[in-house]
């Protein structure tokens, strides 16, 4: 964190009544259906603050959908999600009635969450620095010069200050993803979500992204990572959640989840991911 400029955002140090005790994210009874298919079937999950939680599971298990619900890119059809105790999107009354919160409220709760996408989603008409500074200027109303200083600090944090003026098309996939991480970090989020951040990268480029994530985990940020990199999950993750067919099958420390005796579904899943570092666990 040493290279980060010590800037304050409106909420970063504001007194949250339950910030000290509340988990970073609390998911209660979340369900999601797309048409007739039930993708999430009542998930309860607690994401501890200041730690790295990895969501693993086979394709189609619903882990990305769960992450997108926590980012409010998808709206859960059932249940509630709270961010440090504050309800996200919907408030639930004692009788279980859900009411939609105001757009301002949704935006303010959401501004505390950062997201890194599988496809990077860098804006192609802006430079790396432009991507990082965009929200600082248009949303946080920072002065251009101040925003650029802050943006450069974030780029150097991911080791790309020398690529600041390059356009996304001039960067490798790994570099693009690191810029995307810098873009999310620039807004000083309390929680950083990663949606399969290395899944669309060539194998030789995954390392640079995973290293940046490892550094972030070491700095005490709250990370929630959907990943197929089992080796990364087992070594960096402090909490592991294993999803299967829209249900949370296992949740605990890597030792609890990966240790013997192993759940048969997890054992079967690990078999298919030997090349992603699962071999070391077997």
């Amino acid at each position: 964190m040493s290279s980060t400029a010590p800037t304050r955002t409106p909420h970063a140090n504001s007194p949250e009544p339950h910030a000290a005790t509340a988990p970073a994210v609390a998911v209660k009874g979340v369900g999601k259906t797309f048409g007739a298919t039930e993708v999430l079937k009542g998930i309860d999950l607690t994401v501890p603050a200041g730690a790295t939680t990895c969501l693993i599971g086979p394709s189609g298990s619903g882990k990305s959908t769960l992450l997108r619900c926590i980012a409010f890119l998808e709206e859960a059809t059932k249940g509630t999600i709270t961010i440090k105790g504050d309800p996200l999107g919907f408030a639930e009354a004692a009788n279980g009635q859900r009411t939609r919160l105001s757009p301002q409220n949704i935006r303010s709760v959401r501004s505390r969450i950062g997201m890194v996408f599988q496809q990077f989603n860098l804006w192609p008409h802006m430079t790396a620095l432009g991507n990082v500074c965009e929200a600082l200027v248009t949303v946080r109303k920072m002065k251009r010069k101040e925003a650029e200083e802050r943006g450069m600090a974030q780029l150097s944090r991911v080791g790309l200050e020398h690529r600041a003026t390059h356009y996304p098309s001039e960067l490798s996939g790994g570099q693009q993803q690191r810029v995307a991480i810098a873009r999310a970090l620039a807004l000083d989020p309390e929680i950083l979500l990663f949606d399969e951040p290395t899944a669309s990268l060539d194998p030789e480029l995954t390392g640079e992204v995973l290293n940046v994530m490892r550094d972030l985990a070491g700095s005490g940020m709250t990370l929630l990572v959907v990943t197929h990199e089992i080796g990364f999950a087992a070594t960096v993750g402090e909490s592991i959640a294993f999803l299967d067919h829209g249900r949370l099958l296992l949740n605990g420390t890597p030792r609890e989840v990966f240790g013997e005796p192993r759940h048969p579904r997890l054992a079967q899943f690990l078999e298919t991911y030997l090349d992603r570092g699962a071999a070391t666990l077997l």
């Binding site: 890119l73 996408f117 192609p124 008409h125 996304p168 873009r183 999310a184």
Partner: protein, 213 residues
């Protein structure tokens, strides 16, 4: 051909370029409005936009021009023929440009807007900062193409009596009995204009850098 006559042809070519450029700009403006209406959620907006696009793309420009040229006086609006011609060209290109713009807006990858959503850009900021700039860049090649089509299509306004390049060639070949010469010169001038626009478009595309995204 004397230099004097060639000068007349050049002058007429300039007129063709000016009228086409005016039509393209007016057409782009109308096209943006029609595209916005077509993308609107309200049926009251999207249905008229769909009909507009379908009609002006489905009817030959010659028929549109003859219709507008004769319709305006019939409903009591008397305008010079060049105005009727520009209205016709503008409405026709507006329909095509609306479709091109719609294609551009629809091909902005959804993830780029999700990323904007995540960093807190409001819907209006997303449109202004992300969606519109990318959509316009994606539309640029189609816009250049449309400009070339309109330059060529503008030859049809000769039938309503506007003395642009084609009409000038027609008049001069009638008075000198040398159609082969004057239509060839006209064709050559159209070629130069179209190739210049195409070259300029290719250059502009190279200057506005975008990734495939």
């Amino acid at each position: 051909m004397s230099f004097k006559l060639f000068e007349l042809m050049l002058w007429a070519a300039g007129y063709t370029v000016v009228l086409s450029a005016i039509s393209i700009v007016i057409g782009l403006t109308i096209g943006l409005c029609v595209c916005a209406a077509k993308l609107a959620r309200s049926r009251a907006l999207s249905i008229p936009a769909t009909v507009f696009i379908s009609f002006f793309r489905g009817v030959p420009l010659l028929v549109q021009l003859l219709l507008i040229y004769n319709l305006l006086p019939a409903i009591g609006i008397s305008v010079p023929s060049v105005v009727a011609a520009v209205i016709g060209l503008s409405l026709c290109t507006a329909a095509y440009q609306a479709e091109n713009l719609r294609g551009g807006f629809n091909s902005v990858p959804k993830g780029l807007l999700e990323a904007a959503d995540m960093v807190g850009l409001s819907p209006w900021q997303q449109l202004k900062r992300i969606r519109a700039p990318i959509a316009l860049r994606l539309t640029l090649p189609a816009l250049v193409n449309e400009a070339i089509l309109i330059l060529k299509a503008s030859s049809l306004i000769s039938v309503v009596g506007v003395i642009e390049l084609t009409r000038m060639a027609q008049n001069l070949s009638a008075s000198t009995y040398r159609p082969l010469l004057f239509y060839s010169v006209a064709g050559g001038l159209y070629l130069v204009i179209c190739w210049t626009v195409a070259g300029g478009g290719a250059l502009a595309e190279r200057l506005t850098r975008t990734s495939r995204a």
